[in-house]
Amino acid sequence: MNPFRIMPILLLKNNDCVKGERFKNHKYVGDPLNIVKIFNDKEVDEIVILDTNARSRQAINWTLIEKIANECRMPFSYGGNINNIEDIRKLNRLGVEKIILTQSNLKDSSFIKNAVKEFGSSTISFLLNIEKNIFNNYIIKDNFFTFLKKESLNNTLNTISCLNVGEIIIQLVNSEGTRSGFDFAVLDEIKLNTNIPIVLTGGINSFEECLTLSKNPRISGAGIGAHFIFYGDNKAVLIDYFNKDQILSLFKLRI
């Protein structure tokens, strides 16, 4: 099995790291460079940074991205307002290992195909936001959460995997930022035909949940946001990661 990867997910707003719940009420949690330094020390597998400014279609914060890339000593994935090849080229040259495309890029599939062709599939990831509705069906949410797509989850996953991206990150909107626990029922819904790596994120609140996910050979990694940023019910900011023994046990499980 592919090694299981545990990746902190950080949200950027302008020059700050922020965190909210279900993509709302974002509060300041720290300076991105300090947080990356802490994650370097904690020997984090890789880091995912998503720019909330993408929702308002603002330009990429090139200065900050360059500083983060200079500081980062593990793979760094970035997702933001990315819709042309030149931006991907620039991000890659700045030191961003993986570029994360999203739902809004699906309307131009030739852009995604060209990006995979030029940079290789392992450089292009895809982030898909899904939400469980009142009928317990998982539906696709677009980046701006302004309308819901009626496409089925597996149809969308198959569409994305046909574009040969390196991995698909599936984010559960209902539990994002809540630390309420991962919705394991979604695993029964994912029936992908291809072998594309899948990373899951949304509400993960313990090492044990990651251990459970890692036992599923179809799942390549877990994205964790709030659990690595907040401590306790009062949401004190405490940047953390799993300890070395925990990471070692995950490694031994998959070899």
């Binding site: 990867r5 020997e43 890339a69 290992e97 392992s122 990694g221 490694f251």
Partner: protein, 206 residues
């Protein structure tokens, strides 16, 4: 000391620059494909992520085959990272063009029926003590360091005189080799935290 990171327009070289820069302010680091710059360097790093033939094409288009061969003949240390390591071989199953041919071997693809391809994530390297790249390297498990890998092809050598590092992914594949002035690593030390930093320190000291 001057180190050149060869610019083949393939992948992220800045991270390598950042790590080496953080190790010493007495090193001149250049990202370049200029033959004069390469020739005058003390050490060379060839790194890349992408297709084998694209890299070979770029070497030909930039007229770099001769300068690179001359650098190899000079005996000055060369570190190949990921695709850079693969380029040192004769050819790859991935493409049709000839590699640099510096090492007697070729590149093969992981079998998709055995393992998920690409091999992506952290894995351990079972290295030989004699390889200078791994001197005093920190360990993740009791005996082995870990590094970040992302690749679909691996190097298969016909020469058993090389110092070999091995990693298990379905099969035991060669994750590092060294002989004389040639060093190759399949993983990305610039993305491998303190393990990679240690490896770069060792390369600077060779």
């Amino acid at each position: 000391m001057t180190i050149t990171i060869l610019d083949l327009n393939l992948g992220n070289l800045k991270s390598i620059h950042s790590v080496i820069n953080s190790l010493s302010d007495k090193i001149y680091i250049k990202i370049s494909n200029d033959r004069k710059v390469i020739d005058q360097s003390d050490k060379l790093i060839i790194s890349g992520v992408g297709a084998f033939d694209t890299a070979v094409n770029n070497i030909e288009l930039m007229n770099l085959r001769n300068p690179l061969n001359e650098f190899r003949d000079s005996g000055k240390p060369i570190l190949g990272i990921c695709l850079g390591m693969q380029l040192m071989t004769k050819f790859s199953e991935e493409g049709n063009l000839n590699g640099l041919g510096w090492v007697d071997g070729n590149c093969k693809k992981f079998s998709g029926s055995l393992v998920q391809v690409p091999h992506m994530g952290w894995n351990i390297v079972d290295y030989e003590q004699e390889c200078p790249l791994f001197l005093n390297i920190p360990h993740f498990t009791e005996k082995h360091p870990r590094f970040y890998f992302v690749h679909s092809y691996y190097v298969d050598l016909n020469d058993e005189t090389y110092n070999i590092g091995k990693t298990q992914y379905g099969i035991d594949f060669i994750s590092s080799f060294s002989k004389g002035n040639l060093f190759g690593v399949q993983f990305h030390p610039e993305k491998s935290l303190n393990y990679g930093i240690s490896l770069f320190k060792n390369f600077l000291n060779i």
